[in-house]
Amino acid sequence: MSGLLKLALKLLLGDRGKFLTLVIGITFAVFLMMLMTSMFFGIIQHSAANIINTGARIWVMDPDVQTPQNSIPMPEYVLDVVRSIPGVDYAVPLYVGAGLVRLDSGTYQAATVIGLDDATLFGRPALLAGRPLDIYRNNAFFVVRDANYAKLGSPKLGTTFEINDHRGIVAGIAKVSIGSLFGLPTLYTTYGRATQDLPSTRYVMSFILAQPKSAADIPAIKRAVARLGYRALTDREFTTRNDRFYEFQTAMGTNILIMTLISFIVGLSIAAETFYMFVLDNLERFGALKAIGARSSELVTMILYQSLVVSFLGFGFGMLLASALVAFGKLRIPNYAAIITYQNILMALAMVLLISGISAYIGIRRILRIDPFVVFRS
């Protein structure tokens, strides 16, 4: 480390009170920003659970569909047309809807029902109990064991129930990689049974799941589907569309954004003000350095370095705290929707660097205006 930076570090660490205030301020700002954004990313990820769990490469849907939860049913002929598009390896229908389950206790519980293609069961979840072919038994359903499983009375294989006044039997206990966001238990059955047993509109097909022969075929498939008046999206595009919906068309994104901004402003206020006080307290020392022969660029380097040191320390501690809380939350609260991704780490880092930059800028402006003449004044 250059002597100049070591000197800057010693000046910073020497004022323990301000140093700790700076680090704690940035730590809490990072902690809050990470927590807010991890919650948001968690919610977004859970809202896309159907897309992730199904694993289809291409989703065909009505152009107005924004999320996998809110489909607009399509006529069956679309499936035939999609299957005939060159480049489509195979295409299957998917039903996504809601049913009302009557429990043994006599109470009712709403549930998400996913109807899988009868022939292929494409999008089927992994089973914890039961066999895949059991889904073809009369009235068979697979129940997903997630945070909402207990809402159905934690059924076992063979448990019977009523769904929309039809008999249902648990033929398998399934697991999925991402749980549902909306607090509803999830039931899987065949497409045929789902569309037969659940009340439906004239058209019943929620989505068509298609597999391209190769990635190069995707643009042509999308164009062909668009000519039909429908939309084909890759799983990634559909996830992004779903994300955008929650970010910009619900209050969720705005609220989280506001909370994140508030965290940022709190962090910035604490850091910038404390750093400015630190600079003011050391103004005469910086004046002395300038008089002795330090160049302005060297003083700027010192200030930037000090600001970066407290920022990175605060970032590290803040991230540690947020990660610990998210990990604890996931252990204790089964449907706690928060994930720390590279995106929110980078976002928090960018914001910390911004805090650091603004704090340093305020200090630097003051430093550059120091008249070394002050050192000759008693």
Binding site: G3, G14, D15, I292, S296
Partner: protein, 228 residues
């Protein structure tokens, strides 16, 4: 001759509220000379010090240090000039309270990009000169006024400047300590390669001057010189 100032004028503000701090000041300093600039408060001593040390730009006149007009330098060159040619002992010392004595002395070397450990090694040698070897690891708040002054002197000479500038070196010290410090500077620091400028209004230390310049109302006025 190490420094020569010719026709230096400095004023603040514009007419009619203009204040003339220096009026056509000319003087020079030679090697191995301890030059005193004396005068009452407001006579322009500190302004002159700032102008000749490349801190305050004059409105008129030239300042030549070792033949170079310092006010033709850009900001970075002026900083380099101060770092490599001058050593300052400020009236309030301006030591860094969070640094040890040793680290404080090493500051000019650190600014000169001397490695940290080598800087401290050289600073330790300076401590021997100012007789403070046992205070190396103390922070300034644990030193007496005289000791702080000696640390400031050690810091000023550690980079071996050609011109040492002392601003009111006895202002914060009692009479005996002040005299001891100035005598020490005269005996230990002054040599053939170096000159020292002392700004003071403390007549108790005039006896150590090689030459005295009297200032009044921004002008140098002629007075009898002390006996050599």
């Amino acid at each position: 001759m190490i420094l020569s100032a010719e026709g230096v004028s400095k004023w603040f503000g514009e007419a009619p509220a203009r204040t003339d701090a220096l009026r056509d000041v000319s003087f020079s300093v030679n090697h191995n000379e301890m030059l005193y600039i004396v005068g009452p408060s407001g006579s322009g001593k500190t302004t002159l010090l700032s102008v000749i040390s490349g801190i305050l730009r004059p409105n008129a006149g030239t300042v030549l240090v070792e033949g170079k007009d310092i006010w033709r330098f850009d900001a970075d060159s002026l900083a380099d000039f101060r770092l490599h040619t001058l050593g300052f002992v400020f009236q309030d010392y301006h030591l860094f309270p969070r640094l040890t004595t040793l680290e404080n002395i090493a500051v000019p070397l650190i600014l000169r990009r001397v490695p940290w450990d080598k800087g401290l090694e050289k600073a330790r040698q300076m401590l021997e000169i100012v007789e403070l070897t046992d205070k190396a690891e103390l922070t300034p708040n644990r030193l007496s006024g005289g000791e702080q002054q000696r640390v400031a002197i050690a810091r000023a000479i550690v980079a071996e400047p050609d011109l040492l500038i002392l601003d009111e070196p006895t202002a914060s010290l009692d009479g005996d300590t002040g005299r001891r410090i100035v005598a020490f500077v005269r005996q230990q620091i002054l040599n053939e390669r170096r000159a020292i400028i002392v700004v003071t209004h403390d007549d108790r230390i005039y006896e150590y001057a090689s030459r005295i310049i009297h200032m009044e109302d921004g002008r140098i006025i002629e007075r009898p010189q002390p006996a050599p």
